[in-house]
Point group: C2
Chain length 196, copies 2
């Protein structure tokens, strides 16, 4: 069983595709993915690369939404695009994932909150997506929010972002097998091949 790191930020559009298909890939291949949330926004600001925002890039933005939708269909699930973007509560959504990793519900949380974003157009990190997702997981909303906003979780989030930088990660999702970096949902199969 080969272990592949899955580095991601809730807020990245293409990451939706990976979150919905990694389990199937694990079932079909001799691999297991370990999930690592980090702040891709912090990495992009460092690189002076905040994508998809300028009006002059309108064609590229439109293309991105169309491509995400086509690829989702190709994989066998749905994506109602465009979804709300960018996320207002980007950091909170990811800090909850960090807490979820510590407590064992990171994958379910990420998958559900992404589904609500791309199927119902409800933003991660904001109600009703936030409350409904935590309810589906059987978690106490107030307790989760308090812990997600603690110094410990904030430190873990910053730490992951620093580790991501040192590993050469500049976008979400990124897959790493040993020291080999694969950027993009569309490179997930390359990472699997590399690991075999």
């Amino acid at each position: 069983m080969k272990k592949i790191e899955f580095w991601y930020s809730i807020g990245s559009t293409y990451t939706y595709l990976s979150t919905q298909r990694l389990e199937q890939l694990e079932a079909n291949n001799d691999v297991i993915f370990e999930w690592f949330p980090f702040s891709v926004r912090a990495r992009m600001i460092e690189m002076e690369n905040v994508p998809f925002m300028a009006e002059k890039k309108r064609q590229k933005i439109d293309y991105m939404w169309r491509d995400v939708q086509r690829r989702a269909k190709l994989y066998g699930f749905d994506a109602k695009t465009p979804a709300p973007y960018p996320l207002k509560e980007f950091d909170l959504a990811n800090k909850i994932a960090i807490l979820g990793k510590k407590e064992g519900w990171i994958k379910e949380y990420t998958k559900i909150t992404y589904k609500k974003w791309f199927l119902e157009h409800l933003e991660p990190g904001l109600d009703p997506n936030l409350s409904d997702t935590l309810k589906e997981l059987g978690l106490d909303r107030d307790k989760v929010l308090k812990e997600a906003n603690s110094n410990e979780i904030e430190d873990n989030y910053l730490q992951n972002t620093e580790i991501a930088k040192n590993k050469g990660i500049f976008g979400s999702p990124t897959f790493i097998y040993e020291n080999e970096v694969f950027w993009g949902d569309d490179r997930c199969e390359d990472a699997i091949k590399w690991s075999q």
Copy 2:
């Protein structure tokens, strides 16, 4: 036989991959590619998006070269990266391709000049790549250069770039089947699936 448009600029790194494998894809699928050179640089300047140049993007540049190399190996050919970048004679290299389309040698010219760039690190549009490529094609260098620099070819080049813009193209390579746009060498198979 489905006809897919292949829009490209000599100077784009990932385009190397497509130029070396489209014939094989034609042999294995019910598709034929029509090649259209355009100025991706003009498109990027319009979008204020000149990639891979800033020192802060060093990690991304390094990754791009590694990814091109890995993907070439995956496809069964070689890429010695990094290759010289960006090209000094970007426009001339593409205008020669425009002339080659008119005269029927565009595919061979593009494949050979790209090979010399990625295997021998000789820039397209500059000697010795330029002279050697034309010699391999049995063409008269002085005549080709004179015609490639004519108003007619310049107009065709600008026209293709304008058409590319109107089709929603913002990068090289781009594949189009009917009105569906697929950006990137890694979306070529999606375009083929779409056409079937």
